[in-house]
Symmetry: C2
Subunit: 277 residues, 2 copies
Amino acid sequence: MILINGVEADRISVNDRGFQYGDGLFETIEVIEGQPVFLGQHLLRMSTDCAKLNIPNPDIKQLTDEIYRVCKYEKWAVLKIIITRGIGGRGYRQPEPINPTRVISLHPFPEYPHTYAKLGINARFCNTRLGLNPTLAGIKHLNRLEQVMARAEWNDAAIQEGIMLDITDHVIEGTMTNLFYVKNSVIYTASLHLAGVAGVMRGIIKRLIAEHNLTLIEHDYGKEKLLAADEAFVCNSIIGIWPVKQMGNVGFAVVNLTSQLQDWLRQFKEQSLADAR
Amino acid sequence: MILINGVEADRISVNDRGFQYGDGLFETIEVIEGQPVFLGQHLLRMSTDCAKLNIPNPDIKQLTDEIYRVCKYEKWAVLKIIITRGIGGRGYRQPEPINPTRVISLHPFPEYPHTYAKLGINARFCNTRLGLNPTLAGIKHLNRLEQVMARAEWNDAAIQEGIMLDITDHVIEGTMTNLFYVKNSVIYTASLHLAGVAGVMRGIIKRLIAEHNLTLIEHDYGKEKLLAADEAFVCNSIIGIWPVKQMGNVGFAVVNLTSQLQDWLRQFKEQSLADAR
């Protein structure tokens, strides 16, 4: 089921600025037994991103009603919300007033083997670099050509994620995930002030790290730091946390803190789902 | 009239990757008496950009037929062609095979006063910066949030264009135009290796400059070079060439080379239209 502005449909105006210019943003949410997981966090990030792009925030009550209408009866699925600046004329100038378009769609949950979360995944470095742009960094906007180009670099089913560097050789994130690494019991991740998406799951992991009095350092770092790490893991709202077991030739044998974080995430998710019921 | 894959329609699948990720590119073309101006140059740039994004080039014969179908009978209009990577599933991974979507639409020619071309326009510097990305620089792709954000900075009808710098303070282009300046009879423009759109009109002006044995220097330059120029002008396929008469507090009094280029462009355009008939 797809709802476009509250109505069941699967086609959008060609004059929608999402199509014309990628002028919008999106959220990707896990659905369990009709419940969108971490919905509050996703709606908060969506509102923050809308504000940054100067897109009026959708009516949250109305949006939430529509979300539950779409999720109802679903055992396990992926919910995608797209918000655009709505329909406009030719030219970059924004329409006045702005009537945002909201598209809510449901997708099958991807069939990832359980081993990915348990034993880890194989990752590679992508050649496609992330550009630098402080205005757009962090936002989950619809300008995603960099990720598309990076994901097109490999077809090998044995590789589950590609890691992207920015044009100044800093490691930023995976094509569809954020990336953390562990060295001497300290956790590190990229700071995302010039590139990258500040994922909801990344935010949750930051919170879990803080709540358990571990140290997180957000910084700019190069390949060599990652390759010398004790542990590395990627995350997003659909996969949760996947350890990286192999990065090119380099293997990561340890999953101490990674599996600890997976446990805490499981508990936090169960609590969050229980609270929402 | 809008043609989507050859069929009259005005709605597109929400699963089109143009809508999901801005995964595509576009062309904007002037139409005079049913003739798309500089169509050959636009189709060539489109093919080059398709190759860079790994989108299969549309069948040019079919596309040209559709373009003429849409342009027929139009006295003066703007033709827009959008090519996307077509319909795909959720996720950045590209569909296999890729069946590109083509959208051909016609729009009223904007009502620009004649004074813009004759006497020049007022421009301002935008605060929104262009990000740096060598992979995407030059391509007229659908990831246009930077231009949208920049164009939203001003509402003053007395200002016709905003000039964008990149994040390292180099002057790149206007929100919808390329920018040239003249100093001591030498013409300069930004090199676009890290940011900007390599416009078709920019290419034509480069050709006119070369044919008339003038000197063009493509380089990285800052605000101060532009503000110390003798002449400055912006260009695109719809407006042709507009002199800049005022840039913030700084005025440009001279239009020697600019009006010379306007003359050459007029002749080249007439010749090109005559050849196409």
